[in-house]
C-alpha cells in the first residue's frame, strides 16, 4: 500500500462527500492509502491572482509544508483545491516576494520554498497506479458513452498546472477507456461552466452550463463526469437535466465493484 498525504477541502467534507468517499475507497482498492493531513484549512476555493495577496494563500502553504514533511507529495481531488494549491506552490517556488512574505509570517521551522509535489487524483491514477492496472481491476466495464468535463481549473493556466494539453486534453478520456466506457469528445469539454458568477449573475452560468451539456449530448454522450463540486452543481442545477452529471470517482467505484 502506497501512502500519500491528502488534502480533502471544505466541500468534500460536506456537499461533495460522494467524491471524497468513493475516491478513498477506490484508491484503497488500487493500493493507495489517502492519508488526510492534520488541521487542514479551506484553500479559499479561488487562486488570488493579485501579486500583493498573501493572507489568502497561507492555508495552501500550510498544507504544502505539512506534506513536505510527510512524504513530499500532496494529493488533491477537488479541481478548485488543486488549482489553488498548485498555483500557490508555483509562487512559493518562483516568486521571491511572495515566498519571503509568506515565510516571514508563518515562521516555520524551515522556510517553505515549493518543495512539495502537488498531485491530482487523476494524475495519481495515471502515474502511481497506472491505467493498465485499473483496467485489470475492473469487474464491471461501464459499456456506455461518457463525456469528460474538464472545465477550467485542472487545465489552466497550463504553464503552471501542467496537467494535460489545455486545448485537447486526453487524461479523462484515457480514464474512461480504462473503466470500460467509451469516451465522447465534444467541443465544450474545457469551457467554463459559469463558476462563482452563479451568485452574482445567475444567467451567465445557466447559458454556459446548458452549452456544455448540449454539446456533450449532441456528440452522443449519455452522461458527463467531473472532478469539481462547483461544476457538478452548475451543470446539474443550471443545465436543465440535459444529461446526468456525476463525479468521475463514482464511475470508478461502479467499475471496480467497490461498495460505498
Amino acid at each position: 500500500m502506497v501512502k500519500i498525504s491528502y488534502y480533502p477541502g471544505c466541500t468534500l467534507k460536506t456537499k461533495a462527500k460522494d467524491l471524497d468517499v468513493t475516491a478513498r475507497l477506490c484508491a484503497k482498492a488500487l493500493g493507495v492509502e489517502m492519508d488526510e493531513i492534520e488541521n487542514w484549512q479551506c484553500c479559499g476555493a479561488v487562486y488570488p491572482m493579485g501579486t500583493d495577496e498573501i493572507a489568502t494563500k497561507l492555508s495552501a502553504v500550510r498544507a504544502l509544508d505539512y506534506a513536505k514533511h510527510n512524504g513530499g507529495k500532496l494529493l488533491t481531488l477537488c479541481s478548485a483545491c488543486h488549482n489553488v494549491i498548485k498555483r500557490t506552490n508555483e509562487d512559493m517556488k518562483k516568486n521571491d516576494d511572495i515566498r519571503f512574505r509568506a515565510n516571514n509570517y508563518l515562521q516555520l521551522d524551515e522556510p517553505y520554498g515549493g518543495e512539495t509535489e502537488v498531485l491530482h487524483y487523476l494524475e495519481m491514477l495515471k502515474t502511481v497506479v497506472g491505467f493498465d492496472k485499473i483496467k485489470q481491476a475492473v469487474v464491471k466495464p461501464l459499456n456506455r458513452k461518457i463525456g469528460a468535463y474538464y472545465g477550467c481549473l485542472l487545465l489552466r493556466p497550463s504553464g503552471v498546472m501542467a496537467f494535460d494539453n489545455p486545448e485537447n486534453p486526453t487524461i479523462i478520456e484515457d480514464f474512461i477507456r480504462a473503466i470500460g466506457g467509451t469516451p465522447v469528445v465534444y467541443p465544450f469539454r474545457n469551457e467554463c461552466c459559469g463558476a462563482y458568477v452563479s451568485l452574482k449573475n445567475g444567467n451567465l452560468p445557466k447559458e454556459k452550463s446548458r452549452k456544455v451539456l448540449t454539446s456533450a449530448k449532441e456528440k452522443g454522450a449519455e452522461e458527463v463526469i467531473t472532478a469539481c463540486p462547483l461544476c457538478l452543481y452548475n451543470l446539474q442545477v443550471n443545465g436543465d437535466n440535459i444529461l446526468p452529471v456525476k463525479y468521475f470517482t463514482e464511475l470508478l467505484a461502479e467499475a471496480l465493484g467497490v461498495q460505498v
Partner: protein, 128 residues
Amino acid sequence: MTNKEYVEIINRVSGTDVQKCMKCGKCSGRCPAFKDMDIKPHQFVSLLAKGKIEVLMESKAIWNCLSCMACVERCPRGVAPAAVVEAVRDTVTRMQGNNGIKAEEIPPIVDELIPQQLLVSAYRKYNK
C-alpha cells in the same frame, strides 16, 4: 488617490505588462463570458494601458469575468487579461462599502445543493 497612482497600483497588483498587448483580440475571441463583458478583455487591457481606469472600475466586466484563464492561455504576448480584471476588481472591493455581494442577498438564493465551494469562491472574488 490620483488616476496615475491607481494605474500604478493596478499594474503592479496584476503582475502583467499591458504595454505588451498587440491588440490581436484572441483573448476576447476565446472569452466564454464575452456577451456579458461590457468591456471586452482586449479593450480592458487597452484602456488600462491608456490610463482610463474609471470606466474599468465602473464596468460590469469586473463582476462577470469567470477567471477561467482562457484569455491568458491564448495570449501570444504573455499578457494576462484575467489578472488585469482581477486587479481592478480588487482595487474596487478594497474600498469601504464596495463589496460585490451582500450577506443578506445570499439566503434567498441558497438551495440545498449549493456547494460550500461556491459561497467561498464568490466571497473571495467579490468581497474584501
